[in-house]
Symmetry: C2
Subunit: 613 residues, 2 copies
Amino acid sequence: MYRSHTCGELRLNNVSQTVTLSGWVQTVRKFGAITFVDLRDRYGITQLLFGEELNEQLDTNPLGREFVLQATGVVSERSNKNPNIPTGEIEIKITEFKILNKSAVPPFTIQDDTDGGEDLRMKYRYLDLRRNAVKKNIELRYAVNRATRDYLHDKGFMDIETPFLIKSTPEGARDFVVPSRMNPGQFYALPQSPQTFKQLLMVSGYDRYYQIVKCFRDEDLRADRQPEFTQIDCEMSFVEQEDIINMFEGLVKHVFKSVKNYDYNEPVLRMTYDDALWNYGNDKPDIRFGMELCNLKKPQHVLGHKQDFSSLINGANFVVFDNAETVIAIAVPGAAEYTRKQVDELTEWVKRPQIGMQGLVNIRCNADGTFKSSVDKFYNPEQLKAIAEAANAKAGDLILIVAGKEELTRKAASTLRLEMGERLNLRKADEFKMLWVIDFPLFEFALEDQDGGGAGRWVARHHPFTSPKPDHISVMINNSPKVEDLDKYLEHPYAGIKANAYDLVLNGNEIGGGSIRIFQRELQEKMFAALGMDAHEQQEKFGFLLGAFEYGAPPHGGLAFGFDRLCAIIGGSESIRDFIAFPKNNSGRDVMLDAPAEIALKQYNELHIKSAL
Amino acid sequence: MYRSHTCGELRLNNVSQTVTLSGWVQTVRKFGAITFVDLRDRYGITQLLFGEELNEQLDTNPLGREFVLQATGVVSERSNKNPNIPTGEIEIKITEFKILNKSAVPPFTIQDDTDGGEDLRMKYRYLDLRRNAVKKNIELRYAVNRATRDYLHDKGFMDIETPFLIKSTPEGARDFVVPSRMNPGQFYALPQSPQTFKQLLMVSGYDRYYQIVKCFRDEDLRADRQPEFTQIDCEMSFVEQEDIINMFEGLVKHVFKSVKNYDYNEPVLRMTYDDALWNYGNDKPDIRFGMELCNLKKPQHVLGHKQDFSSLINGANFVVFDNAETVIAIAVPGAAEYTRKQVDELTEWVKRPQIGMQGLVNIRCNADGTFKSSVDKFYNPEQLKAIAEAANAKAGDLILIVAGKEELTRKAASTLRLEMGERLNLRKADEFKMLWVIDFPLFEFALEDQDGGGAGRWVARHHPFTSPKPDHISVMINNSPKVEDLDKYLEHPYAGIKANAYDLVLNGNEIGGGSIRIFQRELQEKMFAALGMDAHEQQEKFGFLLGAFEYGAPPHGGLAFGFDRLCAIIGGSESIRDFIAFPKNNSGRDVMLDAPAEIALKQYNELHIKSAL
């Protein structure tokens, strides 16, 4: 028996009880003849008081930071109470103690504001995990895990484990592979997701499946990617898009309530992919704030309606707008007062290579109703007023306008909008706004080779198992995927096919995505063929799935959440690494383990492989 | 909306409601002008009645086995009720229906008693999973999963995910490895267990950790092994063996209650490793029945006491017993009536190469108190009676005696005991008996090379992180591990060191095992050194753990359950494969996927490896 209580549970009503605590020494403070020790464990911190009679013992066995200590004593009321911690009204008058383990001086301080840099903390991740700032992330992750399981269990979902040693079918992302010792020359692959298995489970009649499961992608790591990551993976049978949307926005609401005690009562907006692109410039809009984009060149989609503002800017001999494929305005609320220096800085900001604009046009909507712009030469106040109205700008706003090639400009406008939202503090970490983005295109056209499948071909925007919208199935069936003129791929019927797919977006991050699946063998074959897979390759890679579709596959669909990211956003952070107990760095290395590492020649031999270095 | 209800939920009180069901056609029976269809989904089976008016439609769209059908109709009371199924009092009078998907004729019948062989069922695992016999196993597995999580959550354990791409540190079992593309010439390993990570989490202060997690071992597969398997992995800080034993026998009792509604109220027996070997011949005794072994040659341990029966058999000039290192008797209850033919068959059974005995001595304890044996020439009735008393045989029992070399004979006696228990139906699948086996030796001595570490050396019986019993730490610290005379390794002080380790045994199967861990750097180094690891190798393989032990590691310990086996035993089966959704065969192949498989040359190149074939 190492302890009678934890360091987080003693209160005034325990006063005069004899207790034993075990934990880590957070601080040691000596005041004359007495010594105060803050003892820490997972559950809290309790103050220990070592009286004069223990001084000799303390001199022989001095306590240091992070020592593991077992101490017995009597709970007493503190004279100097600490209202900041739950145990702050009591302390333990120690009668005996034992050092269970010593500690070297940690390489950084075990505190919220640590002096350790990222690299040092990753090397000593077991110490970093002691810091309260990290611990509460790991605790939040478990709370999200638990709330997810509770919700899905109540809804009749079953956690069914799918295999990790599967078959390599590289589609899009690269597989991690595992050489087989028992099957010379052959390799397993680690799953990029349990996609085909969960579909097989639907064919098997399991009806509602889920897993919180590790997935693997051997990609070049961008800032916030991990080679192994966790998905909440779900699938349901006999459902339409509406059923799935209701089920899983319910899940996220339940998680908010359960983990953050946050009531998400408002309805979750749904927005088509097209509207998202037109109004926010990307397919995962942050709708915590407005500042929608206003397209001054092309007929603007506004929630399904079209408005043409091109007459407002055309014919003014402003060549920048006249020559641009796209001109997009954003009304930044209350920014009319920006100094010239501030506006110049923004102009430089959009001219950086990452954004790539040639410049930034601005129109100040002054509080007195007048306008002052960088294009006063070309547009009179009436025209500026009309543009301001189109951009939904009010007196006091600053309108920013970017112009150039379509896609680049849209991205620039999107990035600028998010940046202004950030600067104006409109993107609050403790506010949550979800929306569904729906009606994605089924295909994208790869003008350049992306994954070794060749250039000039259709690729699945979601994945090859996503069903077209019911109305669009015939378009797919009745047209050849062949694109004769690469420049006119947008005119090919396939470019207009919409998918029965949906993304759940939270605060500008895609936290989940899914689709209604193809469940007919013929349509699945047509899809594979459209992606450039011949019958032989289809059979070799996905023969089991095509086979399964012959024996009574039900209509089904599902969704997967990026669990790491979901936790990070609920925790108010942008970094998934902070929410993973043992993350890898940007080179895919675990610097604590020093992995990956070389293996023995014997291992190479057993696996029938040689180094090619 | 594909359905208003499932196929398992309609009852008499739904009569006259209009409902829509979706599911699979289990059977089609035509009686004159009407057609009965049993429609099946995960939740049950409901009878559909197609009246005469639908005949034409059924002729145009004939229904076959495993077709996916959506049908709407009115719930009606059945005249011919089926008391065997919960929906047996009603049927649905169908008004309209739609075939959602057709099915080819399945390659085997989707029934409990299927006509499909193992290979065929594995190839079409998605159909095999439809069979009720398999489905209830998968459901049981989820129920055990859920009950485990509920219990551990209530006890304050946190599910914390540990990484899958780690470092290869082959100890005992072989690692699966994963070549790293980004780190040329280096490999990750898949974890054989999260052992070191859970210990690090204890160093980090997480106090109570668990995971239901996949583990990987590249071993030659025996009958019931899988290259990937699942563990319930747990660890606790500030605990002694007693705390762990109480926590986890509580877990299994909770699972019994929750999953099987089985009250396991009796205390769980604890038995030392030595007693288990002496009385049952192995370290995972099945204690659902008696028939303990009686050692007639060596002083017999009986729950800690010693009894010497050697005088009962010595001095009778029976050379078989006189020359044998070990002579073990088992009293088979009520088997005195066995015919000569039955006894001959048993004799042949122990002489098979798998058992390897030279013969089988028998003593019939007749109902009238007389004895008849195969050694009447050597032992008179008085002597036979004394042996019978020693073996705890009663009138009507048959005593079976094996003799030979120590280890072989003990194993033979153990196997014979289990066989007789099986034959006498004493090993009931619905009876559950747990026991803890404790006080394992810390080391075993490898006379032959087992894993490339060399012959004639100590190996960890459990694993290198297991702590010796507190009293035995000094024996380890104060003695060199070196064994001068290999023949006398048993006399080396290390042979007597007991581990702070424990196995949980259920119905003769080890379902879990664990230990109190070493948490002091010096002792851990001593342990690694005892296993033949020099300082350099220690640092390279386990530097992170030794480092962690310098910064205040708490006393800790834990346990891991073999989740697949636990489920199988609770499900009354010996085969773990029946409880895994997508298992692999004995060559480590997934025959449904046809994995492992060859990979593309491009993949080899990217991974900096070549085939050695």
